[in-house]
Point group: C2
Chain length 224, copies 2
């Protein structure tokens, strides 16, 4: 789906973080470290002159906060995705950041795998929240009310039949077993499958499972 590497800009006032990210991202073919910026101005200049897909954004920065920078960037370049990577775990900051337009939020204790995962996820237009962050949000979910957020993948994305097929895929059925069980042709299953992949913006079972988990389609709340 996305063959060319994701261009990543790292915005952080600590150069060490930028350097670290650079070296981490370096031996990945799927992502490419495009550059780093220590200030808002640097960041804006950079985006102006380079192709950037995702920005890894720190929040606590002198001068303008990551939140402001994000808001500004999303105004000028709505297509650029912002992934917050910070140590702040306060609900308000997270909320503000998301409100400002961030597509993902990770705590700095996240490991490389998570970062890479998050990069890919936000790059393809979905949101990504680290598991810790999810917990924090959940806890706060009831009182806080929503801010007209873009709800890119809300739920009725998949048709009932597609969900059914997804369920079976998650239960390790192969295409022909699914066909057998549902009394349809394997060709049909393949078509559904293809549509599921397309709709969910995934390209293989692994991605799909991650999607399903994110949607809570795995164990709980399915149409058992």
């Amino acid at each position: 789906m996305c063959q060319k590497p994701i261009q990543v800009l790292v915005v952080d006032d600590h150069q060490i973080i930028i350097d670290g990210m650079k070296s981490i991202l370096q031996d990945e073919e799927t992502v490419q470290f495009a550059g780093g910026a220590n200030t808002m101005q640097e960041a804006l200049d950079f985006i102006d002159q380079h192709q950037v897909d995702v920005i890894i954004m720190d929040i606590s920065m002198p001068g303008h906060s990551g939140i402001e920078i994000t808001r500004m960037i999303k105004e000028k370049y709505p297509d650029v995705k912002v992934l917050a990577l910070t140590m702040h775990d306060e609900i308000d900051i997270i909320a503000d950041m998301i409100d400002a337009g961030a597509s993902g939020y990770l705590l700095k204790k996240a490991n490389m795998n998570e970062v890479l995962d998050a990069l890919q996820t936000v790059a393809r237009g979905q949101r990504y929240l680290g598991s810790k962050v999810q917990d924090i949000l959940m806890d706060d979910f009831s009182q806080r009310r929503s801010t007209r957020q873009n709800r890119e993948y809300e739920s009725q994305l998949l048709t009932p039949r597609e969900k059914e097929i997804l369920q079976l895929m998650l239960r390790e059925f192969s295409n022909d077993k699914i066909a057998e069980k549902l009394f349809i042709s394997i060709r049909t299953v393949e078509t559904h499958r293809r549509n599921i992949f397309t709709k969910t913006n995934t390209k293989n079972v692994v991605g799909l499972i991650k999607y399903a988990m994110k949607q809570g389609l795995t164990q709980n709340e399915s149409q058992a």
Copy 2:
């Protein structure tokens, strides 16, 4: 890996549960409702005369508790797996049940998918704990000490290299991409892959992911 359906015996003093399980299991090819039993004696008799792979066991039963029954059954028929399905969420009961030899523990609020998943998991010799149950156990983990349990999949099951490949699989790399990244032949990757499947008792990526999640090899604590 297991072609013939898993023979399931349901032991519960409430007939309605047995009937319910029967109808649920009926339209599954992978499992087969073999029979039901309301008492220990019935259960023992049944096992004596039929092929049984997994027993779904309630705990609160008049006369002998599910724990006793489990202990007795595991003594006589160690190969028969017991899956506790109950509403008891007290740590002591769970622990006793596991101690008695149960391979899995599910709360009755679990849905069909979870039950089916659990059945397959225990049938192939692994343990299965519902997510709630895991939480409960976790909370209590530090003080309670172990009872020489069979530790079928303890951790050092996979070699470092295998873990590395697993990581990449989880990150949606195809075999040839893995080969490329690690500078080895795709044949080698295939071999590793095969060994991983064998060792983890899984047969496809979906199963493997579930395994990985259970082991916490996905996001957190990997060797990033």
